[in-house]
Amino acid sequence: MKARLLAGALSMLLPVVGLAGEYDLTVDRIKIDTGDFVKEGIGYNGKSPGPELRFKEGEEVTINVTNNLDEMTSIHWHGLILPFEQDGVPGISFPGIQPGETFTYNFPVVQAGTYWFHSHSGFQEPDGAFGAIVIEPEGREPFRYDRDYVVQLTDKHPHAGDRIMRNLKTTPDYYNRQQQTVGEFFSEVSEQGFMNTVKDRLAWGDMRMMKADVEDVQGFTGMINGKGPKQNWTGVFKPGERIRLRFINSSAMTYFDVRIPGLDMTVVQADGNNVQPVNVDEFRIGVAETYDVIVRPQDAQAYTIFAESMGRSGFARATLAPEEGMQAPVPPMRDPARLTMADMAGMPGMDHGGMDHSTMSDMDHSSMAGMDSSSMPGMDHGDMMENEGEVSAPFYAKGSGIAPTAANGGKFLSYADLKAQKPLYEDREPTREIELRLTGNMERYTWSINGVKYEDADPIRLQYGERVRFKFVNETMMTHPMHLHGMWSILDVGAGEWNPIKHTVSVQPGTTLYMETEVDAPGQWAFHCHLSYHAAAGMFRKVIVEGGPETSQPSTDAATDLGGDA
């Protein structure tokens, strides 16, 4: 085992000869220390995150994965374009890797950028089975940097993934610690009046959910590159250097709002694809997304990389500093976000008990009239109303309680800002549209697409060569990061030919989002919400691409019962 690890480490250090690299990964039971608690977990080559895989565009990679667990495993190369048999989803791409077995992946690397890999079996990924992939491009990049760091985020929970799933199934609000309190009820009564407050609570109760359902698994420790906030991962720099930070959100369930107080960030890549550079103060990274930013610290001081969870139930923290051991202040978390009626607008049955949206907005306007608007930002229910003067964030429901704003009042990255640096595909009309309603029942913790969960659903059949427009209608109150394997998701931000291409697109509560896919990869692929427990609960589909240059269609659908693993 030691020798194997050493060999693995050596092969990682050797230069790529003839653009063919061989890499060894072992899948191991490990201990994970967050600084807050120590837990049993799963890692690669003895650690979590696993080793950073550095490939070169054009390289033919061979990756030997040895399963040292007593259960099946798999590795999915998230965002990589490859033959479907190499995609690593048990039951869809291959049968999985049995205990004691070594499976050899082999595929050409046809792209560049920041990606990641993770297990697609059970809850191994939330348990720690993930790592980063960095692919150097063949040509020069459309930006410059002196050094780069992977900044890989996760939401490490003291409970194992299968236990979390069991708890969610029996008690969906098991991990929802931010439920509104009696105190909050009374403060709302004093601000909004008794009847309005009661009506609001009744409306929420009617929808079988709570305003605090922004995050349904709380109680985690945010980690960056395997270090909790107290352990403080530090990236060193020399003042004046340009640093490329490769943010990867490998969380099971958590969206993070990321900022580096004192530094401007320039976003140059999203999901591995270059975007026209955009200067921001803060950005939100969805589960499974990646964003590459360039920063240029001029002063010999420490800077805190601060990543608050979207619902403000936890944070990750790291440091950029001229030397190890220096640190900058860690800001307090902002007030918890609360969903508003606007976030529920997509829910069927919103008009139960006369609580339709128009009634709500009338109520809000009257109850809020005369209030000083300057006192509103701190009030979570202040977001319930949409004044004419308020700026609504694109891609969020109008009046949404989770639409982000920058902590310093500056620029918060929006999907609307993402424009492809160099469009990969020619812009053309889609050949057809497929509507996918994102559905769920919080009371039973079921998550589905078009009301049907994975095990009961027929695959989505696409024809090779078509361009499909997917219409996501989010009828739930949670944000869903939808991930299509094997083919790019061309996110419609209204920029036509400049629409960015991604591998994961976040669909906000109560909104409709469109993406288009050039169906250019034969075989069968997974398509699912990347929130681990939503995918496992059934918000998952198999996509079959029919036709294409390779006539070798998958011979069997027999393994379907093994699928559904996120």
């Binding site: 550079p277 200067n279 640096q421």
Partner: protein, 175 residues
């Protein structure tokens, strides 16, 4: 609301454009460091290619007192600028360029010329006609002739929002 916002922005725009035009922009470094010249006065010609999002070359050596004719070609697929100035001048100019993007003057690979010519009040416009700078659509080529009268901390830079920060700038090295 929208209308008044637009007017506020327009006024801010015209103020900064006026400042730049008057050369009183920031600390007057531009005037001290150099000035535009005629092509016939050029000591030599340097071709600068603009790509997405970088220059070739990325460093240019100049001598104090010499006059250089820069032939600037946009070989990329996005709008780019070639602007000679100090880092502080570039920073100030980036705010103006940001406004040009917000008003749809710069749209990825295109310039909206009608919008640039539009009268924003008081005879000001979003024309990009400063002598130390050219703003080019893909495939376009233009010249700047510049006399480097004094040594200074000069960079050539693209101030289209984000481009400078992504690394689209280079040093003018005085020998």
């Amino acid at each position: 609301m929208n209308a008044s916002k637009f007017i506020v922005a327009a006024v801010a725009m015209s103020i900064s454009v006026t400042a730049l035009g008057a050369g009183g922009h920031e600390d007057g470094q531009a005037a001290k460091n150099g000035e535009p010249a005629k092509a016939s006065e050029a000591d030599r010609t340097i071709t600068v290619e603009m790509h997405d999002n970088y220059y070739e070359p990325e460093v240019i050596d100049v001598k104090q007192g010499e006059t250089v004719r820069f032939v600037v070609e946009n070989k990329g697929s996005l709008v780019h600028e070639f602007n000679i100035g100090t880092p502080a001048m570039h920073e100030a100019h980036q705010e103006e360029m940001e406004m040009m993007v917000e008003h749809g003057v710069i749209q990825g690979g295109k310039l909206n010329h009608d919008m640039m010519e539009m009268d924003m009040g008081n005879g000001h416009s979003m024309k990009h006609d400063d002598p130390n700078s050219v703003l080019l659509e893909p495939g376009q080529s233009k010249e700047i002739v510049w006399t480097f009268s004094e040594k200074g901390n000069l960079e050539f830079a693209c101030n289209v929002p984000g481009h400078y920060q992504a690394g689209m700038y280079g040093d003018m090295n005085f020998n």
